[in-house]
Symmetry: C2
Subunit: 161 residues, 2 copies
């Protein structure tokens, strides 16, 4: 099968397609700070969403750390939605916007729902900021979880692989 054309509803996200690798740092009031190597991929199948996968390896232990996977949906104009599963037993839905900048994109997602399985930790809200700047993708994540208010948790800088 030939590669399908990118669906126009996710046309604004074209700059994200491909694989990104880099490093990040995590902190939270309830845990030790840590650093990680990360790989992120964005793919598409010609439909109005991008498939998104992420995995990190803890730089100290060299062991797999977080992972997450799901979809970025184009829903008209500059509006996008995120649906994501975390292997920690949490799912995340978010609404967001994508905004062009002189060198790339600025994207922000605010969670509309986070739900956990009965054994999952309590995650209440997530805010994700992405900045695409040429071949560099930076993000920051704020999280309200385990009794803490929205607090800075992760920041990373990735480069196009």
């Amino acid at each position: 099968m030939n590669a399908p054309s990118l669906h126009p509803d996710v046309g604004a996200l074209a700059g994200l397609l491909g694989t990104w690798r880099g490093q990040g740092a995590g902190e939270y009031p309830t845990i030790e700070s840590f650093t990680y190597d990360e790989e992120v991929t964005f793919g598409h199948a010609g439909k109005p969403f991008l498939a998104y996968r992420q995995a990190t390896v803890n730089r100290a232990t060299k062991l797999p750390a977080h992972a997450e996977g799901g979809y970025w949906r184009g829903v008209g104009g500059d509006r996008i939605e995120l649906v994501l599963a975390h292997p920690t037993g949490v799912v995340e839905l978010a609404t967001g916007t994508v905004e062009p900048t002189p060198t790339g994109l600025r994207i922000e997602f605010v969670s509309t729902a986070t739900v956990g399985t009965v054994t999952a930790k309590d995650v209440r809200a997530l805010i994700r900021h992405f900045e695409l700047d040429g071949d560099v993708l930076r993000y920051r994540l704020e999280m309200a979880a385990v009794g803490q208010p929205l607090t800075h948790h992760l920041a990373a800088e990735l480069h196009r692989a």
Copy 2:
């Protein structure tokens, strides 16, 4: 990095690891019936979950149809959990059991929550039955959605690739 050993909490699911391909049929009171080609993969990173991805192609149109991705979590004994994102804007959490059979496994998931983005169709409940029988993996899915009660929706038979 060497391939990690399978985490004991998902040891009962070892028979699922790898790639599966086959065909299925879908029906629902609100749509035309359809048939599809499907590929499913189960992977792991040495942690207490399997990464699960699925994609189908409509056999009539040859176009990508459904996809879904997430994690199967081992949470002790015969109990498992499913956290899944659908590009339709729906996330699914389910609790389940895995039971050995003379030739494989019997697995059942019942959703504990289904949540959609504001633009998603209304999906209320999903029941997934899997039967691993040697190198054959069959599943059936019942769905309550768009005003319909729990109703048979999908059945497929996949073979180890």
